[in-house]
């Protein structure tokens, strides 16, 4: 079997964040058991940040590190998202232009709620494995944001917010998928997928998150078990407790991953409570660091959990990561891949942790002002000019060229490097 997987990857999580506990307190949420949710910070999209700026800022270091010949071998750009601002035009077209890619390239966008990133990864891997264009590479960009906004008249601050607002983040993961999987080598064919129609959480109208968080949680738990059982039936000798040194799962918030891990370890691996806690700390907690600081990045979340595991795990010897993705609606997949010390060095070279640390922490009055300003870039905006003086300190935090949205002209989005 030919090798396939992630050749290079990077995370970008914006220029501003809020402390989630401060936000929950600000909203008057019940804080008695807040620590169980395992949330710390979340990235907040400023008006001049959108899914394109997140995606380009994630991908740019990967593209800059390539030779012109390697860059020309990018023959597919897949955008994985539920935050697109156009039903027809794909965001891949913007990525293609802003990153200066070869025009002999397939450009398209892919959606299935939080499953999109892994649907994209597997689609990319299958393109590489098909060998229809030997040596070709895929640029995969999973990018999602949640933009909360208050309108005059008070509409917007609904009950739904109490769950979604503290957990919904913003961010992107960019990955080069090729036959040189230096970072994450996919176990080809080792996949259990499981999907069915359910109305759990969704975005039924522009800029609106809605649905039943309880049902989504239960469906996630069901799918985690069913997808793993399918993986096990396809992979001879697969053992949840022993086959994977680490587990990386879609992370709406850390507490949900902890619950899903507890459930599947008890049910499938017949593990005892004390062992489950130790197992969680050892095998799962490395995956949580980035997501705990960024919030739920939807389509990018499972890839972010994989990146976090590679950054924080021990890869002195090659190790296998078991991965689980769940997207509302729903579809899920349990799959696996192998990471070496070289892969860890390549991910660590991106400096993702220090990038997260440089974000500007919004004070609550800044955050509330942002909610009142965000409608400037709501879905369907035809013309707008973004004010660079809004939370101006955030724009320079990374100390390197960063892409921002400059204006919207007749629906076309125009960007600037700052």
């Amino acid at each position: 079997m030919r090798a396939v997987g992630i050749e290079a990857m990077n995370v970008y999580a914006g220029t501003a964040c809020v402390d989630v506990e401060a936000l929950a307190g600000h909203r008057g949420l019940d804080m008695t058991r807040f620590a169980n949710l395992l949330m710390k910070e979340k990235t907040v999209a400023l008006p001049y940040e959108d899914p394109i700026t997140y995606g380009v800022n994630a991908a740019r270091p990967l593209i800059d590190a390539m030779t012109p010949e390697e860059k020309d071998r990018i023959e597919v750009v897949i955008t994985c998202t539920e935050s697109a601002f156009d039903f027809g035009k794909s965001m891949s077209t913007y990525f293609h232009k802003l990153l200066g890619l070869n025009r002999n390239c397939r450009l398209f966008e892919l959606k299935n709620a939080c499953y999109s990133g892994i649907a994209g990864l597997q689609t990319a891997a299958n393109f590489v494995l098909s060998s229809v264009s030997p040596g070709a590479k895929v640029l995969l960009i999973a990018t999602d944001i949640s933009r909360f906004m208050t309108e005059a008249g008070g509409e917007g601050l609904t009950d739904d917010w109490s769950f979604f607002e503290p957990s919904s983040g913003a961010g992107a993961v960019a990955a080069i998928v090729s036959d040189q999987p230096h970072v994450f080598r996919i176990d080809v064919g080792a996949s259990g997928y499981y999907g069915y129609e359910v109305m759990d959480t969704c975005r039924p109208a522009p800029d609106k998150e809605a649905g039943d968080a309880d049902l989504s949680l239960l469906s996630y738990l069901d799918c985690c078990e069913k997808a793993f059982m399918e993986y096990q039936s396809r992979v001879e000798g697969a053992d949840l407790a022993k086959t994977f040194t680490y587990l990386a799962m879609h992370t709406p918030f850390g507490g949900m991953v902890k619950g899903a891990h507890r459930n599947i370890m008890r049910k499938v691996a017949k593990a005892k409570p004390a062992d489950i806690e130790e197992d969680f700390q050892r095998r799962v907690s490395p995956s949580l660091h980035f997501n705990q600081r960024v919030g739920n990045t939807m389509g990018a979340s499972t890839l972010m959990a994989i990146a976090s595991t590679i950054e924080h795990g021990n890869f002195d010897e090659p190790r296998r990561i078991g991965c689980f993705s769940y997207g509302s609606g729903c579809c899920s997949e349990f799959f696996s891949g192998v990471v070496t010390r070289e892969g860890q060095e390549r991910v660590r070279a991106q400096g993702i942790g220090s990038q997260l640390g440089r974000r500007h922490t919004l004070k609550m009055d800044e955050y509330d002002e942002l909610l009142a300003t965000s409608h400037l870039v709501k879905f369907g905006t035809r013309n707008a000019s973004l004010d660079p003086s809004f939370v101006a300190t955030a724009r320079g935090v990374h100390g390197r060229e960063t892409l921002f949205l400059k204006e919207i002209k007749e629906f076309h989005r125009e960007y600037e490097w700052v």
Binding site: R33, D200, D214, L215, L217, S219, L221
Partner: protein
């Protein structure tokens, strides 16, 4: 407290309700000393969504039953939850 499947394979609704109450007390120590009735909802008793799924899973395990957790969303209080599980159990074992 309650019955185990070994003692009685036809677990009835009242037994399941008692198991739900027992597990709710295990997960939510704040319920100590409080009388619970079938019309109580776990949410109103202070259980968040993680707690509620935990209580359902513990109960399913105790009655040796497997069903999609998502189906239990229909129950709006612990009495309805007990009935739903008892109906499914009866359907499966009939």
């Amino acid at each position: 407290m309650g019955v185990t499947p070994a003692e009685d394979s036809a677990v009835n609704q009242e037994d399941i309700l008692q198991l739900i109450i027992q597990h709710a007390r295990d997960v939510l120590p704040s319920l100590e000393g409080r009388e619970l009735s079938p019309t109580d909802s776990l949410r109103e008793l202070g259980a968040n969504s993680m707690d509620r799924s935990e209580i359902v899973m513990m109960t399913l395990e105790a009655i040796d039953m497997d069903m999609p957790l998502a189906e239990t969303i229909k129950a709006s209080n612990i009495g309805e939850l007990a009935q739903l599980l008892a109906d499914r159990k009866a359907g499966l074992t009939a």
